[in-house]
Subunit: 578 residues, 2 copies
């Protein structure tokens, strides 16, 4: 492909809304252009990379017996009503009415549509098992789309759905897809981890996420030192550190009388209180307020050193979505005091307590009166009633490994894949049943499995770039070789480039030729920005000296070869890099 | 591929809403399943056919220098406001608001988005020309979706857009795409015609449609006997037949006085009037009423034998969309009489006259009084004022060829492609300009080019089927060979099938094996329904007699060969059929 025949416009400047390197580079390299917030056009180069990744996905799924189909993006409300997700999915599900007043949504996921598809055909146990997938455009009305394709509204996704006779079969299907995903991200050439995860409003009993590691990743992951345990912080069990276990027990053994009100003017934060009382944050208790989707306020008690984990709270309460923190005014209306002076004593709402607080006694909490705290408070002595105790806080780096020895280490990751064991959540709600060998009607056991196709491409760029541009992994590089044609009008140069292009193409390698009338410096800069694995600098002077430069994009290593050895050397290097 | 490992469920019964053979067969063969009116899931076999056709489209476009990209399905209102089409497209454009109150639509076409994409990058004449295309899902809120993928709401389309320096360049791009389309539909293996067409609300100066010929086609096409002229009836010029030219002149020469009211109780249709007066329908005048999109009623006069052509009326009046016929009550309110007793005399609204009426004199029209007509009426003698005379009627089979000798012959077609020369309609409205070699800012000259991908697949089925099922053209057949494994448990049969599958696959031919535990009759019926080009009946008895049957799906011709010659014979037949 010649640049002069391509639709390709690189930019010197990053767009104002691009915050992370991959987003900046994708726009500068002409890969994507914004149409509206979270909505992009993929340019020809981006599409080539996407298609290569799609092909990897297809091959790894097909070889495992999965079959590709294509479901619609527009879906009728009726199907979503059957599972209750029309309401449960909230405003992220983009809904609309057509001219006849019928209600539809844009597919944010396809469990309802695939279950409907399957229940129309499947009758007997003989029809199972199978796994169906599609690569298709999805839409979610993200509140705050950002980071380019990382958190877009419209996005390309591969979604697969497995259908099995029983739990055992479903577990096999789940493991097979887990293997497929490991093969896919390995072939992509990405550094990734698999972590235990929350099932969100997809549902089901078990799920794992695949994360490409990158500093700008939106998710925090905790991995044990031996690498055998890994979890998204959302679901990572939080264990007490050795030293705190002792401290808590000391605290718990302290005796105490009735709570005593204490004027604490101006002391609103845990830091203020710690400073004023001389206690460590882990010896203090903080009181937070959340609202559930049923509009019921709840109170959550944590140690002063901990952060609430809304996903754990959601799961402890059996909610569909994580609860939201109350606004200051809502707290004031509820407790009579502004945040900073609130506590659990005297509240009429459910109180949830993190398990690290359960061990404590004789602590200080807000008095629900501005500028006052209570001291000597204890749930053990009935000063307030605890609805439920549980693991409600965020685990942190340095916390003990919940499944072995050693401590947890923190990473940041970009979620590119998610696999779910669903059980019969959808098949029961939608009556997708089969007649078993025993003559009984049974719901199909399901699993679902997603890969963010566009997000994966951006994530490998986020993981593989330097200050000059993208460093494409060969697996999805739009082109393998970038020829900077230094004297595009020179007939000898033209001849060598033509030959190079043909010979490499015959071996399955795609060559991009910068044949523009630009200075070498401009061409080199653009080559670094575009980031194809190998660059060839081919000009009249070099040919005169029987010398051509090959530059490796990743290492920036330069090798000089004679024109006669060029193709051979390139093929060797391309072989090595794959 | 083995049936036992496939997701494939054939149906004996046609669904109730399937009216035409291709729709019935696609559902029966498990190719598509309805999700909602006009919205379908494509099963694995359908997707294989679609992908094969997409590949043909890609190859023919890429070889002509077109470049593939991917634009979003969700588009912001702001872009459509720039061209005025947010309003002009009417209710077919599916609009919605997101959670922030921003307005969007689902892409029914992408002129606005591509023009926006291009205007951000293109600066100079050096950046032109180029042609960008995508294969993508579109959505139109069809009032009455029907015929499966023929008139769906959600559909797969290839849309290409050319950008040129000037009219001459744009004309070359248009011709190149015309050639590409001819190559594409030829490779598809369809019988098709290219006809002059209306530009609808896409706009521009010139357009042609590609139609796959089929009796159930929604469009009527008129083609000259010599094949050199072809047009959609919507735009086909209507010429008077030889005999009517004479008749009209006779009529025109008749003398007459003032109009005279005549009681015509119960005479409401042209047929009634013809019977009662003894005049032929072509000697009578009928009065129709339409409403424009600006809510202005108009009157249209035609001969009794002719039908109004709303597209010609739209173009004569310079409207964006064809006007709609008034309801009976609207006619009554407007004229004082019910349809059947209405006429142009005394009306205060614009009156448009078909050119066949212009030649007439002394004719009969409704009196705008129920049960009465006027006779001896003539526009030539000022009985009413004609706003405009033009070609406003539908041409018919047997009409003279407007561009040569002979008569027109009628065909029915399914529109599968449409090419438009747009000029600068979009580039002017959206300021997509470039700096010319002469230093002047100029709007880019554009063209746009669509192919209905899903509709093309259904159209070839509509064109290629018999009472037993589909007859796939080899170009897009999901599989090339269908093996009916008659004794799937027999190890010799299994061995021969395995070998057959491998050897054909090595030559690039895909084999589908019916390995179900079903009776031969069931398998043969399903093979005919699925319609892959060649069927092989392979069973233990045949092998015992050293005999395997090959059945050609199209001709139903049976050839018996020895198992040793099977692969060779199949390869020869497959070579022939491509």
């Amino acid at each position: 492909m010649r640049w002069s025949k391509s639709y390709l416009f690189t930019l010197r400047e990053a767009p104002a809304d691009a915050e992370i390197p991959s987003h900046i580079l994708m726009v500068r390299a002409g890969l994507i252009r914004k149409v509206a917030a979270g909505i992009y056009t993929y340019g020809p180069l981006a599409l080539k990379a996407l298609r290569k990744f799609e092909q990897i996905v297809r091959e790894e799924l097909n070889v495992r017996g999965c079959q590709e189909l294509l479901m619609p993006m527009v879906q009728p409300k009726e199907l979503w009503d059957e599972t209750g997700r029309w309401t449960e999915m909230g405003e992220g599900l983009q809904k609309f009415k057509n001219r006849n007043g019928h209600e539809f949504c844009l597919g944010a996921t396809h469990e309802e549509v695939i279950t409907d598809f399957v229940r129309k055909d499947v009758k007997s146990y003989r029809d199972l098992p199978f796994n169906l997938y599609q690569i298709q455009t999805k839409y979610r009305d993200e509140i705050r789309p950002r980071f380019g394709l990382m958190r877009g509204r419209e996005f390309l996704m591969k979604d697969a759905y497995s259908f099995d006779l029983d739990q055992e079969g479903a577990e096999r299907s789940y493991q097979l897809m887990r293997e497929a995903y490991q093969a896919i991200f390995t072939r992509l050439g990405a550094r990734f981890v698999v972590v235990a995860a929350d099932s969100g409003n997809i549902g089901g009993n078990r799920s794992e996420e695949f994360h490409i590691l990158a500093d700008s990743g939106e998710d925090q992951l905790l991995v044990s030192e031996d690498g055998l345990f890994a979890a998204n912080v959302e679901v990572c069990p939080a264990l007490l550190k050795e030293e705190n276990r002792a401290a808590s027990i000391d605290q718990a053994s302290a005796q105490g009388g009735a709570p005593e009100e204490l004027a604490t003017p101006g002391l609103k934060t845990i830091a203020d209180l710690a400073k004023s009382t001389g206690l460590a944050p882990e010896q203090l208790v903080k009181t937070l307020f959340f609202m559930t989707e049923a509009q019921e306020p709840i109170c959550v008690l944590l140690r002063g050193c901990d952060e609430a984990n809304p996903v754990k709270i959601k799961n402890a309460l059996g909610l569909a979505n994580p609860p939201r923190l109350l606004l200051d005014q809502e707290v004031k209306d509820l407790t009579g005091a502004w945040p900073g002076s609130c506590g659990p004593v005297g509240l009429k709402i459910p109180i949830y307590m993190d398990q690290a607080v359960e061990r404590m006694d004789n602590y200080m909490v807000g008095a629900n009166r501005d500028g006052f705290h209570l001291k000597g408070v204890s749930h053990r002595r009935g000063h307030f009633k605890v609805t439920q105790v549980g693991d409600l806080r965020l685990a942190q780096e340095g916390d003990p490994n919940p499944q072995g020895q050693g401590k947890l280490k923190a990473y940041r990751g970009i979620e590119v894949g998610h696999i779910f064991y669903l059980g019969s959540k959808y098949s029961q709600a939608m009556e997708a049943q089969f007649l078993g060998e025993d003559g009984q009607l049974k719901p199909i056991e399901m699993g679902c499995y997603g890969i963010g196709v566009g997000r994966s491409i951006q994530a490998v760029i986020e993981q593989n770039h330097d200050k000059d541009g993208i460093i494409w992994p060969p697996s999805v590089a739009p082109f393998h070789v970038h020829v900077c044609m230094l004297d595009p009008e020179d007939s000898q140069v033209q001849q060598w480039v033509d030959t190079l292009e043909k010979e490499l193409f015959a071996k399955g390698h795609e060559v991009f030729v910068d044949d523009r009338a630009e200075r070498p410096g401009v061409k080199f800069k653009d080559a670094d920005l575009l980031g194809f694995p190998l660059r060839v600098n081919l000009g009249a002077r070099g040919l005169g000296q029987s010398e051509v430069e090959i530059v490796e994009r990743k290492s920036k290593e330069i090798v000089k070869v004679s024109p006669e050895n060029l193709v051979e050397t390139l093929l060797k290097k391309l072989g090595e890099s794959q």
